[in-house]
Symmetry: C2
Subunit: 304 residues, 2 copies
Amino acid sequence: MRIGIIGSGAVGSLFAAHLAGLDDIETWIYDVSHAHVDAINANGLRLTGVGEVHSRPRATTDPGELPALDFGIVATKGMHTGSAIAATAAAFADGAVCSVQNGIGNEEVIAEHVPRVIRGTTFPAGRVLEPGVVQWDTAGKTWIGPFEPQPATMEQVEALAEALTRSGMETLALADARGAQWTKLIFNAASNALCSLTRMPHGRAARHEHVRWVMDGVIAEGKAVADALGVEMDQDPADLLEGSIEVALDHKPSMLQDVLAERPTEIDQLNGGIVRFGEDHGIDTPLNRAAWSLVKGLEASWTL
Amino acid sequence: MRIGIIGSGAVGSLFAAHLAGLDDIETWIYDVSHAHVDAINANGLRLTGVGEVHSRPRATTDPGELPALDFGIVATKGMHTGSAIAATAAAFADGAVCSVQNGIGNEEVIAEHVPRVIRGTTFPAGRVLEPGVVQWDTAGKTWIGPFEPQPATMEQVEALAEALTRSGMETLALADARGAQWTKLIFNAASNALCSLTRMPHGRAARHEHVRWVMDGVIAEGKAVADALGVEMDQDPADLLEGSIEVALDHKPSMLQDVLAERPTEIDQLNGGIVRFGEDHGIDTPLNRAAWSLVKGLEASWTL
């Protein structure tokens, strides 16, 4: 079986490094970073932190080098989904492509370019330390299921989940993966956007009476949109938030890290996604729209 | 006539320097900054910018030095209103005290300490360049009127307006000064809070499609609260905003300057004031509450 990882930042590297450890899987990486690709081809890909992994996926910056692939795993930031899948789509003419990206709306973009799509949500996280070396900060599960309007078969979903689980990335194959995705989306929309605007770490923000009021409102709106979509969530994001305060008291969510480094954020896929799906289903989401709008303004301030 | 300026940052200094130019007014300054007070007593108070003014008010850090005063003009930041008027109240036992501070709710605090209060709103602005020297950035009018629950007489309001206008600070005496105050409050709530959260200058923020959506919402909520209070505004804050974009394209509102310098802001008197008055009158103000909450979080982030 051949699997291609599209985008090998921290999350893509976690998947690639694990899969490349399996003898029966040929693992490819497509990434636009020459430094990262060259380092991987020269010295392999190394994970350190939660676990130590060292393996040898094949990496390329040239999509023409990719062979026909059975599965794709898209792990770019949301704003690069379109260009990344457009460049690599030919390799997936007979395959199925799965998003493990943050937020909502990535599968819709992928489905414009390839025939069979898998909806996915992943919990593991980390950060690139240097080309070819990734810090693995957080372990956790991945949930995947057919993307409803343009699905891969359930057999494909199960085959991918089996390979990922066997590689060390525990993955659940679900008939409906929307519940897991919306639970994480709503949690992330509350944490990332509001931590970014207040520059507070996750747990401190959730403990701050005023900021928590906004978080609670963002979550309530998100749940109303999920309800309107008929999504049954696996967990109440409000409980997820409450349970995360102590363990992530001083954790800076990825969007806050982006803001502090003045990098484009994934706000369009988080609060922006809730706003768009809300609009489509007649649900008003003023607090998500405010958070989305203010982070868009913050991004614009860097180029004034 | 004796007039005491309580708090001589930029705005207080504009009033003090002008009044001290009049022979028939004995002008006092109370301020907690020894450096500023000492410089004024040694070299006088100097304004530069829109106009050049140099005069000699009497300045003190010791409220016990203040004589009985006919009028007070409170010009501290909102978070210092209570302590400043508590310290100086004895001087106003037979006088009337006017707020020229930003936002709403300052007169209520002043009224806890002195018998007669004047509601005020001022447009002129500047910044302290060094002790005793203030940059005068913006000219404009001041509007004053009796504070309804505990008013000065209309004769007192007119006498203060006459002295200020004669000193060069054009001031209108109104039977109801709430319209002017709420117009500026709502404009400031839209500009200051959202520029602070996005770190965009005023006009750029108002021109940014997403940020403007939040500004428009903050203004609409503010107008609903003013309506519920029975306040008739002199101008639609939305028109004021539209008209300010070009002239203040790259102007950093005072709250944004505070945020960049990590100083406490006046958010409690701006969006926080709209939220409180809205609560009292059953008007929902989610976007003002979000802006208030997020700036409170931002302030909290500086002391983590």
